[in-house]
């Protein structure tokens, strides 16, 4: 068993190991995901700011009148603002449709989604400890996490539930699908689902952009990479998965080398027993 040399639970790190880990970068996000994330963020910013300016009925308006006037001034008229809102929305839907079709195998298969954002017992415990630590009420160690921590998983579940509804209700209103009564309900559902995502966004933006312990996660959304120390401390289960893959990759290389050496008729041994000390500088 090659993976048996990799620890199954986080250990206290020696200074040398921690320093070496802090220097090594491992890949967290594919470039497509990085681009999609910032496209999505921009779309949300534009859609939220124009959407708030489009709800003007005094029965449920929430933006102040001066905001409505500012937005109308920027766009020239509310009708233009609606056109812009629809144009950005349709682009957003199209891009995610393309993502869903071409990225399905990698990101959206049920096993992948289950593995990445399904909550387990560690996650429930993590949510408790995380909240208490944020409030300064606990110093407990956070349970090991997968590629996404429990907070990110909760937000992802909310988004996975809300976004299809936001898209559908938006399309219903844009194209007057299914008639008047459905359009009226779509309006309310659009507001509600967006509201739920915004409530999650409050935490998402703070955790991603401001909270000091998660700073590497923020930079990983730009470079795609995190350092191994951060991965070890914050996403141990994922770190282990990466290490197991790395081990398997090494063994494959060694195997190939052996075969090649055998084919060339060279009797020299490539020392397979030394696998843990094979080149460190891979990832």
């Amino acid at each position: 068993m090659a993976s048996s040399t990799i620890e199954v639970a986080p250990l206290p790190l020696t200074v040398e190991r921690a320093e070496a880990m802090a220097q090594r970068q491992i890949k967290k996000h594919h470039v497509a995901i990085v681009l999609l994330h910032w496209f999505n963020a921009t779309s949300w910013l534009l859609e939220l700011s124009t959407g708030a300016g489009l709800i003007v009925s005094p029965y449920y308006r929430f933006a102040p009148v001066w905001y409505l006037q500012v937005m109308e001034g920027i766009f020239g008229s509310r009708a233009n603002m609606l056109r812009f809102h629809i144009a950005v929305g349709l682009t957003w839907i199209t891009v995610f449709l393309v993502y869903a079709i071409f990225g399905f195998r990698n990101y959206l298969r049920i096993e992948v989604v289950q593995h990445e954002i399904g909550l387990d017992n560690d996650d429930v415990e993590w949510l408790k400890v995380r909240t208490l630590r944020l409030l300064g009420k606990s110093q407990d160690v956070l349970p090991p996490q997968g590629v996404y921590n429990a907070g990110q998983k909760m937000f992802a579940l909310l988004v996975y539930g809300a976004v299809p509804l936001i898209m559908l209700t938006g399309l219903i209103m844009t194209f007057h699908w299914f008639g008047t009564a459905i359009v009226a309900w779509a309006m309310v559902l659009h507001f509600f689902t967006v509201g739920m995502v915004v409530s999650g966004l409050m935490i998402h933006i703070y955790m991603g952009a401001v909270f000091p312990e998660e700073k590497p996660a923020f930079y990983s959304m730009i470079t795609g990479m995190v350092n191994e120390l951060y991965a070890y401390q914050h996403h141990f289960k994922w770190w282990r998965e990466v290490k197991v893959q790395e081990q398997a990759w090494r063994e494959r290389i060694i195997e190939q080398e052996k075969l090649r050496a055998g084919a060339a008729g060279e009797p020299k041994e490539p020392a397979p027993s030394e696998s843990p000390s094979v080149p460190k500088e891979r990832l």
Partner: protein, 243 residues
């Protein structure tokens, strides 16, 4: 600034529906919808003292329109001249205003997916023309004009004679279509086609009564949560080396 109004003389109206047809062709109104139509009250009273009346229904361009606040996007709005109009670029056809109108003056144009109603032929009025129903009416039962103009026929009929609004004890929002003729005609029309109190559609009620509060609470709670964490972060200071 003009203040437009219409007077309909129920004694002159013979229920020929010329106005209905003229309006339909002028504004491409599809079957099943109408910006204006003539409704019959049927006969009332005891023989030999029977009465009958025609009630021309259309948008009343009310002083305190209930359809305007009901519109979520502001597609329905009132001009300074009093004309209540629909901006089709903003209308999404949700039907909020249809339910809010006590006079049933609005319909959803199925081919456009947007609401439609009488706008006093605003585009004609802007050019100095009369609304198309007024020019078509063979009995001159429809009179259109400016209530600010003391020499106008509508001013005379409304302020010097007895043209009345179709208001009831429960619905009085200042309609600007007045009805002239014998008082019993107007009484009969009002009895047969009394304005219904404005309604909010169910989604609006759900939205304003609890859904918006729920969303504000959720957003407020998470905002407060991160604010507390943020102040805790600020007060404890940032370290050179995290963990």
């Amino acid at each position: 600034m003009p203040r437009y109004a219409m007077v309909i003389d129920q004694e002159r109206c013979v229920g020929c529906q010329s106005c209905t047809v003229a309006c339909k062709s002028e504004w491409d109104v599809p079957n099943g919808g109408a910006r204006t139509k003539v409704r019959q009250t049927g006969t009332a009273g005891q023989f030999p003292k029977l009465t009958n009346s025609f009630y021309v229904s259309q948008c009343n361009h009310c002083d305190r329109p209930t359809c305007v606040p009901a519109c979520p996007t502001g597609a329905t709005y009132q001009e300074a001249s009093g004309i209540v109009r629909v901006n089709r670029d903003l209308c999404i056809g949700c039907g909020s205003c249809v339910a809010a109108c006590p006079y049933g003056a609005r319909y959803i144009n199925a081919s456009l997916g947007k609401v439609d109603k009488c706008d006093f032929c605003a585009s004609r009025v802007e050019k100095g023309l009369q609304p198309t129903c007024v020019t078509t009416c063979p009995g001159h039962a429809k009179i259109f004009g400016d209530l600010e103009d003391r020499s106008s026929d509508v001013f005379r009929l409304v302020y010097r004679e007895t043209a009345r609004r179709m208001e009831s004890s429960t619905v009085a929002i200042g309609p600007n279509v007045y009805y002239a003729g014998k008082p019993e005609h107007a009484e009969l029309a009002l009895a047969s086609f009394a304005p219904v109190p404005p309604r909010l559609i169910a989604p609006t009620t759900v939205w304003r009564s609890f859904l918006n509060k729920f969303v504000y609470l959720a957003v407020g709670a998470t905002f407060l949560g991160q604010a507390v964490a943020f102040f805790h972060q600020l007060s404890s200071g940032e370290k050179q080396f995290e963990e």
